[in-house]
Subunit: 353 residues, 2 copies
Amino acid sequence: MFKIAVLPGDGIGPEVIEEGLKVLYAIEDKYKLKFDVKKYPFGGEAIDKYGVPYPEETKNACLSSDAVLLGAVGGPKWDNLEGDKRPEAGLLALRKSLGVYANLRPAVLYSPLKVASPLKNELLQEGLDILVVRELTGGIYFGPRGTVAIDYGFKAYDTEVYQTSEIERIAVIAFEVALKRKKKVTSVDKANILDSSRLWRKTVEEISKRYPDVELNHMYVDNCAMQLIKNPSQFDVILTSNMFGDILSDEASQLTGSIGMLPSASLREDKVGLYEPIHGSAPDIAGTKKANPLATILSVAMMLEYSFDLIDAANDIKDAVNKVLEAGYRTFDLGKGIILNTQEMGDKVVEYV
Amino acid sequence: MFKIAVLPGDGIGPEVIEEGLKVLYAIEDKYKLKFDVKKYPFGGEAIDKYGVPYPEETKNACLSSDAVLLGAVGGPKWDNLEGDKRPEAGLLALRKSLGVYANLRPAVLYSPLKVASPLKNELLQEGLDILVVRELTGGIYFGPRGTVAIDYGFKAYDTEVYQTSEIERIAVIAFEVALKRKKKVTSVDKANILDSSRLWRKTVEEISKRYPDVELNHMYVDNCAMQLIKNPSQFDVILTSNMFGDILSDEASQLTGSIGMLPSASLREDKVGLYEPIHGSAPDIAGTKKANPLATILSVAMMLEYSFDLIDAANDIKDAVNKVLEAGYRTFDLGKGIILNTQEMGDKVVEYV
Ligand SMILES: CC(C)[C@H](C(=O)O)[C@@H](O)C(=O)O
Ligand SMILES: CC(C)[C@H](C(=O)O)[C@@H](O)C(=O)O
């Protein structure tokens, strides 16, 4: 029996998680499975209850689970707290404690949603199917940092730091997933300026020798930010650091115009993974039933696929989402169609599953 | 008599510089001015001649000039050199030695070129006129760095570091230019993660108190990468660090679809400045007469405006470029129209000046 720790979090988090679980339970019924599902406080909710974003109890539960399903964290209420007491600090601690160093962020354009893309149609002829593989437990997010008083004011610093082994393992993930896709890896760095990027590039180059069937090219991060807009279909897998991946995956996802559709998985060597929609907690629409639960529902599909090897069940969910869209059903963020609220969209997917 | 050090550089650099100077000489004639213009080796060209990208002679000339006009540097020929011997190292040393900490990068959509933008027309109704104010002599580009051997492989690091005074002076520039524009500054950071970003945000907040007429908002860099695509007309001035500015200014410029049109200025407190097109050296089209010289010509206009206070002359150039475009003249990169080569485009602008 697979054990799943569920962290609904803040804002629309609990609302979309509800729908994700609805679909998970539908899969249980269909395949006569039983998942051990329990919810734990995390993020702002946990700060309010326990003063910390990632309480011991939640941590213990996550560390002994096969998968963690997360809604979203953060909101204006907690924005003025000290750095290490904020919801975001909990997110970093969660990622680090699980050791899920490989963040997979697909940016896929669903053809019924093509009209939602901000890009001109000419640029989307070949569709858009990019997978950003972002290093998630290293780099400037976790390097030495500090703020010190100086003669005039302060000096503050953060350190981007990578070692060979960290780069090797994330590169392996990128090449492995590329084998199952269009066999192309674009490694993004700033090797014309950064020492850490030069080590990144050299190490990726080494790993690529083990994958003669995968084409590798290198691109500077500034150029990549341009190329994503200029010619997005040139990309298959984008392999990059924590910081650059944060920026580029958000840019790539915006190109689809429907960020409410995009799931993500964060993995390590074994099958344990953290699954979450890439959208945020959207406090402005929390409670209005406008949230799009599809990114969370698709995160559940990724969990079934990557952590539980339940490929058929995962495909059922993906097919159901496709059919729901093709039938013209939409949430508020997706533009014209038969508009459903959060719960109705969850129900509709269950119906098609 | 204003002294101008001209650094043609590599690839298409010398070709576009030639046209920029042509227009400068036309201004000399028109306004009975005399500029002291001399060319110096820089970048790959200097590496080939002297083994270093920024030779003493060039440095002395730049430091004693009123303005520096740069073409572009770099190319595959020099890509495999050690970090500090590369053309890019020369560019960093040039910026640092001049102390030009404020890099102004306008991303403007010329209405005759609207069709070249990758964005759907709906998103461009209000046009696109963003000015990225990028900190240019600090941050991770210049912080402590290194690569050390460890038990397994290497560890490499770079340091993002900012102090109050550096942030204050660049913020002042952003607020000052905003006063002459739509009076809106969006300061971009990653304050939910980085210590340096929290100091950045606090300091910008302080400076903003001196500018009650300018609206300030803060945005995380990942969100900004999305918002630029989702709703570019929300931006007026974007104020950000060296690294984030590198990425975001390239993204913003790509939204115009005509990066061959975009100039830049790098300034310090006095009037001395460094002017360059934002495009690169484009080695693939060097020598083919396909390069678009308009970004360099507009960089000359920025030089006249910011370093020499020759506002009328600067406007003459900008008007001439607008008229040339309106008359249907284009270079190869700009799409359909009466296609001119590099020299012909320079001549055409001179004609309209
Ligand atoms: C909330 C924030 C700390 C986080 C990050 O930067 O990693 C988010 O932007 C993301 O991409 O998951
Ligand atoms: C060539 C490179 C060092 C440079 C930078 O990163 O600053 C370039 O990308 C730029 O933006 O001017």
